[in-house]
């Protein structure tokens, strides 16, 4: 009996793994056909993609470095999704987090590095969290659609960033690319020993595990999932839905804000327009592909980080434009959403059915 129950559960889980994988393969085939239209050999494409993402230790490190901010920005979509909110403004929280972290570091020049780094992380998370909590709060208290407001806030954050790096916070020495002053080499968070991968990856993995525990193993997370399933039921049992929305959205934005802090303190060393590299938007894709499960976000971010990392090789070896990564991401996104319709259609995944 126990064995049968276990097998049933395994089948249910398998469905959530097999269908997204099918969608991924379909998107890769579609992308192969797409590049074949431009006279490139799809087999070369797949080879270089693998080579650029996971082929060598160098590409692995590149992939892991890119996966770090993706895990964090994916949480920015995955956490509010538990409440039924579609937040896609992780990019804005990332930029605000980066700005806050940079400002903090510049204010604390001369303090011990660890103090500066902790303050940077705290500032980035607070401001990023407030940015997304604003979207969530507006949705709950004013009925403003959170998808649209979070996206508008991305453009507002971008304008704010441009204003600050072109004006008040501009380092006069940065001529071609207006930037803030550097936070200083001593304040950079450095790499995991023996690798070129920065500590942001560890931050991301820890954040994802904490998010998973919060959502699936605490009363708070249970309440959030009830509210996500049925707001009326949640109110009937006396849950403060507004409080849940604000806290969950704050945590989501804090994750994306931390991604901004990591990009400043581990990669760029300062704030400039380079930070708007689309990690927030790719993070949204990661969250949907992971079906908003914080643990599944980790391998999916690795996969998408790998696709990002292979972009350079595709450009050099196949002469494909850098936007080809965007096209592939778009195809994966569309294909994964279309695959939603397949759930429950395969008898093999149904409980109690012998294969």
């Amino acid at each position: 009996m126990l064995r049968a129950a276990f097998l049933d559960r395994l089948r249910g889980t398998a469905e959530y793994i097999v269908i997204p994988l099918l969608a991924l393969v379909a998107a890769l085939i579609a992308f192969g056909i797409f590049v074949a239209l431009f006279g490139k050999n799809p087999l070369d494409l797949y080879f270089y993609m693998y080579q650029g993402a996971f082929g060598t230790w160098f590409s692995w490190q590149n992939t892991l470095t890119r996966a770090a901010p993706l895990i964090l920005t994916a949480l920015c979509t995955a956490l509010p999704a538990q409440l039924g909110l579609v937040i896609i403004g992780g990019e804005g929280a990332l930029l605000m987090g980066a700005l806050a972290a940079t400002s903090t570091a510049l204010l604390l020049q001369g303090a011990p590095a660890l103090v500066v780094q902790m303050a940077m992380a705290l500032a980035g998370m607070t401001v990023g969290g407030a940015w997304i909590a604003l979207s969530g709060g507006l949705q709950h208290y004013r009925g403003v659609n959170e998808t649209i407001s979070s996206l508008l806030l991305v453009y507002i954050a971008l304008a704010l960033l441009n204003h600050l790096v072109e004006g008040p916070m501009r380092d006069p020495a940065s001529l071609n690319k207006p930037s803030t002053s550097e936070i200083g080499a001593a304040n950079m968070i450095g790499t995991i020993p023996g690798t070129d991968v920065h500590w942001g990856l560890v931050f991301g993995i820890v954040a994802a595990i904490l998010a998973y525990l919060l959502i699936f193993h605490t009363t708070f997370g249970f309440a959030a999932r009830i509210a996500g399933g049925n707001v009326r039921a949640a109110k009937a049992v006396g849950l403060g839905v507004g409080r849940l929305v604000l806290i969950v959205c704050f945590l989501a934005g804090a994750a994306a804000g931390l991604a901004g802090m990591v990009e400043v303190a581990a990669v760029q060393g300062r704030t400039n327009a380079n930070l708007a590299a689309g990690y927030g938007f790719t993070g949204t894709l990661v969250a949907f592909l992971a079906r908003h499960n914080p643990l599944a976000v980790i391998p999916v971010a690795l996969l998408l980080g790998g696709i990002n990392a292979s972009g350079g090789l595709l450009q050099r070896r196949l002469g494909l434009p850098d936007a080809s990564v965007l096209v592939l991401q778009g195809m994966i996104f569309v294909s994964v959403l279309a695959s939603e319709t397949l759930y429950g259609r395969f008898r093999i995944f149904r409980a109690g059915v012998r294969p």
């Binding site: 579609v86 896609i88 507006l138 709950h140 208290y141 004013r142 009925g143 403003v144 659609n145 998808t147 649209i148 407001s149 996206l151 508008l152 806030l153 991305v154 453009y155 507002i156 971008l158 304008a159 704010l160 441009n162 204003h163 072109e166 004006g167 938007f281 949204t284 894709l285 949907f288 434009p321 936007a323 080809s324 990564v325 965007l326 096209v327 592939l328 991401q329 778009g330 195809m331 996104f333 569309v334 994964v336 959403l337 279309a338 939603e340 319709t341 759930y343």
Partner: protein
């Protein structure tokens, strides 16, 4: 020395001219979204249609020498993206908001991919009509040089009001938007109605994109659109799904977007980048003021997932 004589008057004139110029993409995208949403479906991906339309229009105009063929190509590319959206949303259990986000990424990515060779060359652009011939003041003349596409959009708004309210087509579309069951009971396929509405809406958004690359700013590059598509979708909510209100709202947003450049023209360059945020801040504020958590919005199609 008219320039100094005008003084600060330059700013409102430039804002007016900017409103007439900058509002056109907002206008076409919001009219398109209006049609789609009245059929009971939301397409958040019109930003992708806008960018794709801009690229297709520029490429076609460059290759054929005719900007109007470019506009046509933009409309067709937009309709195709709309078809893709509708086809995927037609599948059971697929969320239209998420598909819109996906197509926004896909459309912009595809446009950047295909548009790489178009960044250098210059294509013939759309003609404008000089409505300022009576004035000697160059700023006024510049403000009143009005593009033909804008005039088409202005004519389209009342036409759509009439078509939605009184034509057979409009009635069927609204039935699908208010009650899918009623439309089914009348023997119509809700999916087919929404597919046509999404394609038409997508095509209009594509035309809006052609304005960006073929008139103002008038070239193709990857920074061409900065969220006009998504702002326009928000604008439809503000305009209560009424095409005429979409027109006024677009003019308001165009004016807000023109504020930064207008101030710069009189030498106020402080905070230029902050003024770039004006249309988005305005959208957000208007949504905060006009939305309410307690009741559904007046005029909202009952089948719309975003207001349900």
């Amino acid at each position: 020395m008219t320039e100094t004589a005008l003084g600060w008057w330059v700013v409102p004139i430039a804002v007016l001219g900017g409103a007439l110029r900058v509002s056109t993409p907002f206008l076409f995208v919001s009219l398109g979204e209006c049609i789609t949403e009245r059929s009971g479906r939301i397409n958040l991906g019109l930003e992708g249609n806008l960018v794709m339309g801009a690229m297709c229009a520029y490429g076609t105009s460059y290759l054929t020498g005719s900007p109007w063929l470019g506009v046509l190509a933009a409309a067709m590319s937009g309709a195709l993206l709309g078809l893709l959206h509708a086809a995927i949303c037609g599948l059971p259990r697929v969320n239209d908001i998420a598909v819109g986000i996906a197509l926004m990424l896909f459309g912009t990515g595809l446009a950047f991919f295909l548009g790489k060779p178009l960044i250098e060359p210059s294509a013939p652009i759309l003609p404008a009509i000089d409505f300022g011939w009576w004035s000697d003041i160059p700023q006024v003349r510049a403000a009143l040089r009005i593009n033909v596409l804008f005039l088409i959009g202005v004519a389209l708004a009342p036409l759509l009001v009439w078509a939605l309210a009184s034509s057979r087509w409009g009635l069927i579309l609204r039935t699908a938007g208010e009650s899918a069951d009623a439309a089914r009971a009348m023997g119509y396929s809700v999916n087919a109605i929404r597919m046509r509405a999404t394609m038409l809406g997508g095509a209009l958004a594509g035309v809006g994109g052609s304005f960006l690359s073929l008139y103002y700013p008038g070239s193709w590059n990857e920074g061409l659109s900065s969220g006009q598509g998504i702002t326009a979708v928000a604008l439809v909510i503000f305009a209560r799904w009424n095409p005429m209100l979409c027109l006024w709202a677009s003019l308001l947003f165009g004016g807000a977007a023109a504020l930064g450049p207008a101030l710069q023209s009189v030498g106020v360059s402080q905070g230029y980048y902050l003024f770039n945020a004006a249309p988005y801040v305005l959208t957000l504020l208007i949504m905060v003021i006009t939305c309410s958590p307690k009741r559904t919005l007046v005029g909202a199609p009952a089948e719309l997932s975003i207001t349900k």
